[in-house]
Amino acid sequence: MGRSDGPIPLRKDVSQVNLEAFLQELAPLFSIEREELTDDFALDPNTNWDSLTIISMMALMDDHFEVEISGEQLRRCSSIGDVLKLLEQSKEL
């Protein structure tokens, strides 16, 4: 298994400050500490990755970045790294 050096930094207008605030609020959705939320953190039924968590994540994305990412896109993510990539792409559009 891979890195545990924290989430990948995002480019452009996704500021590190917003990102950090987002991740701080995201961690409790998985009942874990912020430090445990690395980009290889797996998203599957064992880590509480269900439709309610997806909805809560969408709300946080709207709060912190004002981006709308569909449930379908999030459902296809298998790790936090995938989510951050989606976020980065949506900001580049």
Binding site: S51, I55, A59, E68, I69, S70, G71
Partner: protein
């Protein structure tokens, strides 16, 4: 649709009705277990909701609400020029349930009557239609009946839907006046969302078969048939944050109302999480965005008038209130209206006994 203004139309009164029985945490825990119920409730905000147990129809609830409203207003039956019934749970495939209601309510043969098949957005659409009818003709009074019994099309073993929906009906009386401030409407549709909140089978596109009524295991362990309601909660949320905040901002800006000057924003009671998020997005304090989810759940098309009755009834009885009402969901279909209304006759929710009305109507039809 661009902003549309309807002038010289007044809401004279509103009433709501619910079935007598409530489903609550205890009933849900027996099916889903404590942990799941607690988790869903935290998100939905629904602790109990009224549900019919013996086949009460939306029309029965609306009938009870309308009878009481006409009595309270002292409106003669022959003075009603049009009856609009908004529902997604009609009595029959045909005829239109509004025809059944015209007869049950003793309205005259000169009364226009028609059904509108809309859910979450239905109350705002109903007000728009009623307003247009009154503003553009010599008609003087319209009765708008809006309600649903969604509990009857939900699988009791589908956790996403089973613990959310309640049953309710409403009646709203509208009339022409000379000096009423305009109501400002914005309405919209995006049919790409049609399969996200849907009863896929049992009508004409996919008629009923033995297979379509068989409940099988679906995503997330839900047990559901194709004749049960399917709801994709994540896409509903995504749609709501995409369309609804800007919808409300548009209405406020066209009315030239500051959000501080608004007495209340009555949202379709989708679930607590959506209400909370929209209130935050719009920068409105929660006391201006009332919720009736805790006791009544999501009552589909009836949720806006039910919330007006329950949360604003006392104020609307004695004073004018500056309101924005916003309905959004199944379709996707949405609409918002900015209006000043009250003082008015407002009452409810009345409690309708399951057996009595349900059976008497059945007997009459046989």
């Amino acid at each position: 649709m661009a902003i549309c203004s309807v002038s010289n139309v007044k809401i004279a009164g509103i009433s709501a009705a619910i079935p007598e029985h409530f489903r609550s945490r205890v009933d849900d825990e027996a099916i889903f277990g404590k942990e799941v119920v607690a988790k869903i409730q935290q998100h939905s905000g629904v602790l109990s909701r009224p549900v019919t147990l013996s086949g009460l129809c939306a029309s029965d609830l609306c009938f009870a609400a309308a009878e009481r409203l006409l009595e309270n207003l002292n409106w003669h039956r022959e003075s009603i020029d049009a009856l609009i019934f908004v529902t997604q749970t009609p009595d029959y495939v045909l005829p239109a349930t509004s025809c059944v209601l015209q007869e049950r309510l003793g309205l005259t043969k000169r009364c226009a009557a028609f059904d509108v098949n809309l859910g979450c957005s239905g109350y705002v659409y109903g007000l728009w239609l009623a307003g247009q009818i009154l503003a553009s003709s010599s008609m003087g009074r319209v009765l708008l009946l809006v309600g649903d019994t969604i509990s009857r099309i939900v699988s009791p073993m589908d956790r996403a839907a089973a613990m959310l929906f309640g049953d309710a009906g409403s009646a709203t009386a509208l009339e022409s006046t000379d000096d009423e401030a305009p109501m400002l409407f914005e309405l919209g549709t995006d049919g790409r969302g049609r399969d996200r909140l849907i009863v896929p089978a049992g009508s004409f596109r996919r008629p009923h078969t033995d297979l379509t009524q068989r409940r099988t295991e679906r995503e997330g362990g839900a047990m559901r048939s194709d004749e049960d309601l399917f709801m994709d909660g994540a896409e509903v949320f995504s749609f709501a944050i995409r369309e609804v905040a800007s919808l409300i901002k548009n209405v406020l800006s066209h009315a030239d109302w500051s959000k501080e000057s608004l007495d209340a924003l009555i949202l379709h009671q989708a679930n607590e999480f959506i209400l909370q998020h929209l209130a935050k997005r719009l920068g409105l304090p929660r006391e201006k965005v009332p919720s009736t989810l805790e006791n009544y759940g999501n009552t589909s098309s009836a949720s806006i008038p039910l919330t007006m009755v329950v949360s604003l009834g006392e104020r609307l009885k004695v004073s004018a209130q500056r309101l924005v009402l916003a309905g959004f969901g199944v379709g996707w279909s949405w609409g918002a209206v900015g209006l000043s209304c009250g003082p008015m006759s407002i009452e409810g929710p009345l409690v309708v006994q399951d057996e009595i009305i349900g059976k008497s109507e059945e007997l009459r039809c046989d």
